[in-house]
């Protein structure tokens, strides 16, 4: 029984990681139709910025409140990079979807290489406060605290995002824009500001995922973003592009499926099952669990 609890909670921890990456991606795609391959880069930026801050930024450190400062710095860095990417690279290609995808592809290649050039290709140990290395006993299972931290962070982000979408004006614009971007423009609203905003949100969430992922896995490396990104894409498609809630459900499904099958089957089988789930969802319900119809 305790194994099941452990698997469920670590699966949810994985789901939390996926959700943090996927939520921003889903909004960016739902609103701006941009398939952002460079999203993994924001993850890496967040991880490395936190790592750097913990070692170099005054006031920040590897534990206690200093660690919170370091993570905050990482999240800020991710948001700033995302905004720069949107303003400089994506916006000039407004409504040219293929070119935008291509540019993000180039950026992902160049960006990861840049991280590699600056900090080397090898995995570096990631600063973590002592309590994240411990485990907590939950219903008889010893669950790593880092996983619980991820879950809590994801729940907070989910709540925050939903509140933002529901109660703020920009949230309203984003919700409307995901449905029909053109009509929002026809009401006199400059949607492009909303684009930049969702990029910033996505960048911040991904950076948080990078930082907390570093805590969870214990290391940071330039290629981390890439492998996570593929699963995040799968979560976005299953959940429905443009839907934060959909991403949450899909992330949970994917995380749990992956964790349980990898354990009870052979390692790697879980990943295959996730892809199988994607294929099934796409065949039966191409718009995903909760999203708008995925169009060309």
């Amino acid at each position: 029984m305790s194994t099941v609890i452990l698997l469920a909670l670590t699966g949810l921890g994985l789901a939390a990681l996926y959700f943090l990456v996927a939520s921003g991606l889903s909004l960016v795609f739902g609103l701006a139709d941009v398939l952002n391959f460079a999203h993994g880069l924001f993850l890496g930026v967040g991880a490395y910025a936190t790592w750097w801050a913990a070692g170099n930024l005054p006031g920040a450190g590897p534990s206690g409140f200093g660690f919170v400062v370091a993570v905050a710095f990482g999240v800020l860095a991710g948001a700033v990079v995302a905004v720069l990417v949107e303003l400089v690279l994506i916006r000039p290609l407004y409504s040219r979807t293929i070119e935008q995808v291509l540019v993000t592809v180039g950026l992902s290649l160049a960006g990861v290489a840049l991280l590699q050039a600056t900090w080397g290709a090898d995995a570096r140990p990631f600063p973590r406060p002592a309590w994240t290395r411990e485990v907590t006993s939950v219903l008889g299972a010893n669950v790593p605290n880092a996983g619980l931290l991820l879950i809590i962070a994801a729940v907070l982000v989910l709540g925050g995002l939903l509140a933002f979408l529901r109660f703020t004006r920009y949230g309203l614009i984003i919700r409307a824009g995901v449905e029909n971007r053109e009509m929002v423009t026809a009401l006199g609203i400059d949607v492009r500001k909303a684009f930049t905003l969702v990029f910033a949100i996505g960048g911040a969430a991904a950076a948080l995922a990078g930082a907390l992922g570093g805590v969870y896995f214990g290391t940071v490396s330039p290629g981390q973003g890439g492998s996570l990104l593929i699963f995040a894409f799968i979560v976005v498609v299953i959940g429905g592009m443009g839907s934060v809630v959909g991403s949450a459900y899909a992330a949970v499904a994917v995380g749990l499926l992956q964790q349980f099958v990898n354990y009870y089957g052979t390692s790697g089988l879980g990943d295959l099952c996730v892809v199988g789930l994607l294929a099934v969802v796409l065949l039966l319900r191409p718009q995903g669990l909760a999203g708008k119809v995925a169009h060309a």
């Binding site: 409504s95 040219r96 309203l172 614009i173 919700r175 409307a176 449905e179 029909n180 053109e182 009509m183 929002v184 423009t185 026809a186 009401l187 006199g188 609203i189 400059d190 949607v191």
Partner: protein
């Protein structure tokens, strides 16, 4: 009849994906009353409206001049045009189905100007009553009222309305026509409409498109009285729908 037209279109040509949709279309919209844009299906009426408001698709080319007052409209972004007083009620209403009625209206609010809720709720009391209802669950007629209502929250110099009675039951068609009649008392309207009874009720001037060009302009009532002309230009007789 005031002299200065609110909108003047000169030599408007639109090509989409290599196909010529409009070629050298020129007409004016009077600064009062309803000007109706007529023509057979697929002739380019919606394309004309969308070109004016700046929503031609990316693979399209627009040439010519469109002037509202002194300003040229083409090459300006849509949201600027709308803020300058161009209200657009698109074909198929395009209300945001996932948002509530109140949210749909709230979206149209602008900073700096007070939204004219009293005017809108006076015209459409239903919208006030159904504020918390999801717009997607409204009937076609109610959605049309919402689409018109949200545009009316702001001051407009010209309304572009595309087939507002499409797909609606006859009773609702009459209601929509009544609303548009009242609206047109204070704002000029460029209306695309296929229902000739509505045209007869509302329109003062008519512009008829055919094969991508303007085939006829003049007084709408005169056009409707000439059965043969109506038939040749629009392909239908002037049967009156109840």
């Amino acid at each position: 009849m005031s002299a200065e037209p609110v909108l003047s279109v000169e030599n408007l040509s639109v090509r989409i994906a290599g196909l010529h949709i409009l070629q050298g279309v020129s007409f004016e919209v009077a600064s009062a009353g309803v000007t109706v844009l007529l023509g057979r299906n697929g002739v380019g009426k919606t394309t004309t409206l969308r070109a004016i408001v700046g929503l031609t698709p990316r693979n399209g080319e627009v040439r010519g001049t469109v002037r509202m007052g002194a300003r040229s409209l083409l090459a300006r972004p849509t949201h600027r045009l709308v803020r300058d007083g161009l209200g657009y009620v698109p074909e198929d209403r395009c209300v945001f189905a996932g948002l509530t009625v109140a949210e749909n209206l709230r979206l149209a609010e602008r900073r700096g100007t007070a939204p004219a809720y009293d005017k809108v709720f006076a015209l459409f009391p239903e919208l006030d009553r159904r504020g918390r209802q999801r717009a997607g669950s409204l009937s076609g007629g109610q959605q049309q009222m919402l689409a018109i209502g949200r545009v009316l929250l702001n001051d407009n110099r010209l309304l572009l309305v595309d087939e507002p009675t499409k797909g609606l039951a006859p009773k609702v068609v009459t209601e929509v026509a009544e609303v548009l009649e009242r609206v047109a008392e204070s704002v000029p309207v460029l209306l695309v409409e296929q229902n000739l009874a509505v045209v007869r009720r509302l329109a003062h001037d008519a512009v008829v498109l055919s094969a991508g060009r303007v085939a006829w302009t003049g007084n709408a009532q005169d056009l409707l009285l000439e059965t043969a002309l109506t038939k040749s230009l629009l392909g239908v007789g002037s049967e009156v729908k109840a």
